[in-house]
């Protein structure tokens, strides 16, 4: 699942993931509310519950950190095995510190998502 308000980024990241052949399905969502609703509807989504979420931080309305707070309150069965936070800028000490507060965040990556990054994530978390 991709959560990013930037359609171009979603489009590009979806393309990278599809080209990699690692995923059967990519679910792009343009805001945190839509994403949460999708996750809560797990039982109606068939086999399409995400194994991996790529989360953008800088989003209008509910930003990435606020999404994580809401996500934390979800029933365990609606959560996903891995969440990777996607950063606009690399090496931000503030973002790293914030991400560390959420146990559910597996890792931080800088945009754009690349095939090398996917290889690395798969090796590390799956």
């Amino acid at each position: 699942m991709l959560i990013d308000d930037n359609k171009d980024d979603n489009f590009f990241h979806e393309r990278v993931i599809k080209k990699s052949g690692y995923a059967n399905m990519v679910v792009p969502k343009e805001n945190g509310m839509d994403a949460l609703e999708y996750l809560r509807n797990r039982h109606n989504n068939g086999n399409a519950h995400p194994d991996l979420i790529f989360l953008d931080i800088n989003m209008p309305g509910m930003n990435g950190w606020e999404f994580l707070e809401e996500y934390n309150n979800l029933d365990k069965e609606f959560q996903c095995p891995v969440i990777v936070v996607m950063l606009t800028t690399s090496d931000s000490p503030e973002d790293k510190a914030k991400a560390a507060l959420f146990n559910i965040v597996s890792g931080l990556k800088s945009k754009p998502l690349t095939i090398e990054m996917l290889d690395q994530i798969l090796e590390e978390y799956f």
Partner: protein, 361 residues
């Protein structure tokens, strides 16, 4: 004429007055008359209470009573309210004499006024400086915030451009002729360069954001930096000597970056066919430490001494020497964070010395 023995004091600059045990003026000189804004004739024979109603309640009168009854001498600055509402300040010395109490008075009103004026002016200045400091601090953090947001937010559209260039290159390769493909590569390189510039700008604006001082062994820090630069040092054949180094409280990551930049610059701008030699030394000067990084490189013209420290200013083309024009601007900001200055001494073709100072924290 009673008390003519005092007539020698009639015209001296200090005020002299003698008060009898029943608080009457028995002698006053011209100066006292002037100070009191009353004539000698009017004063003599009158009591102090008649002349200055309410004087019994003053602190001065308490000391006067002690002096009169117990013979305790006293010295004080007396604030005096005249009938006309003005204020005077007098340095008084009182001592018991046969006739009662002798009071010497010296007009210090002018000094006192000057003192008060100075105090007020200083307070006003302090207030102004504080206000300016607050304004500057706000402006400064606004600027930092601006640089941060600008560089952060500009990355996003730039990334979109470079992403779509990649899509075109991957998906439309067959439809593009050779020159179109070349143009895409140019766009790709330009976006990459701009992205790097933005990243540098972001790093520049972030310098000193996390302010925690650490006690740092400078010798160890420099040797660590040399280890990080191992490849560069090995490939260039550079010889680096490190003199005596202090332990100081500094912002460690920033100081590391400072030495890394100065050492790598010293190697980068070397003379062709000359083995780079770099000497790093330190010296305590008054309350500051001064460090020098001396090389035998290509040198810098004096007219460029200032320019090299400005952000995005470069003396050489990217073909000659790679760089983003931000390294020395970072160095300057780091040194200034530590209350110091950075400067250059150089001779073209012979080498440059970058010197900087650090305040002791």
């Amino acid at each position: 004429m009673p008390f003519s023995k005092y007539s020698i004091l009639d015209n001296i600059i200090e005020g002299v007055q003698i008060i009898s045990a029943d608080w009457r003026y028995v002698y006053v000189n011209e100066t006292v008359a002037q100070h009191g804004k009353a004539s000698k004739e009017k004063l003599i024979g009158r009591t102090m209470m008649e002349q200055y109603p309410g004087i019994e309640g003053t602190e001065m009168f308490k000391f006067l009573k002690d002096c009169m009854s117990k013979g305790v001498p006293h010295q004080m600055i007396n604030e005096f309210d005249f009938h006309d509402g003005s204020k005077g300040y007098f340095e008084l010395r009182m001592q018991r004499v046969d006739e009662g109490v002798l009071i010497l008075s010296f007009d210090v009103t002018k000094q006192k006024q000057l003192e008060q004026w100075l105090q007020n002016t200083n307070a006003l200045l302090d207030e102004k400086v504080n206000q300016r400091t607050i304004e500057l601090t706000i402006k400064n953090s606004e600027l930092e915030q601006f640089a941060y947001i600008a560089s952060h937010d500009l990355q996003e559209p730039l990334r979109t451009v470079s992403n779509y260039v990649q899509i075109l290159q991957e998906d439309c390769a067959e439809q593009l002729d050779a020159s179109a493909s070349k143009h895409l590569i140019t766009i790709h390189m330009a976006t990459k360069r701009m992205s790097n510039l933005l990243r540098s700008l972001l790093e520049f604006s972030r310098l000193g954001r996390n302010k925690t001082l650490q006690h740092v062994d400078f010798r160890k820090l420099i040797l660590d930096v040399n280890t990080d630069l191992e490849n560069l040092i090995k490939n260039s054949g550079a010889v680096i000597s490190v003199g005596n180094m202090p332990h100081l409280n500094v912002y460690e990551p920033e100081i590391r970056q400072l030495f890394q930049k100065l050492i790598s610059n010293a190697i980068k701008f070397r003379n062709k066919n000359v083995c780079p030699k770099i000497e790093i030394s330190s010296e305590q000067i008054n309350d500051k430490w001064q460090f020098c990084v001396k090389d035998n490189g290509i040198g810098i013209e004096p007219k460029h001494y200032k320019k090299v420290f400005q952000i995005f200013q470069r003396l050489h083309s990217g073909k000659e020497y790679e760089g983003d024009g931000i390294g020395l601007a970072n160095c300057k900001k780091i040194v200034e964070l530590h209350g110091g200055k950075i400067w250059i001494d150089s001779a073209i073709g012979l080498g440059s010395t970058f010197s900087f100072t650090i305040s002791k924290f």
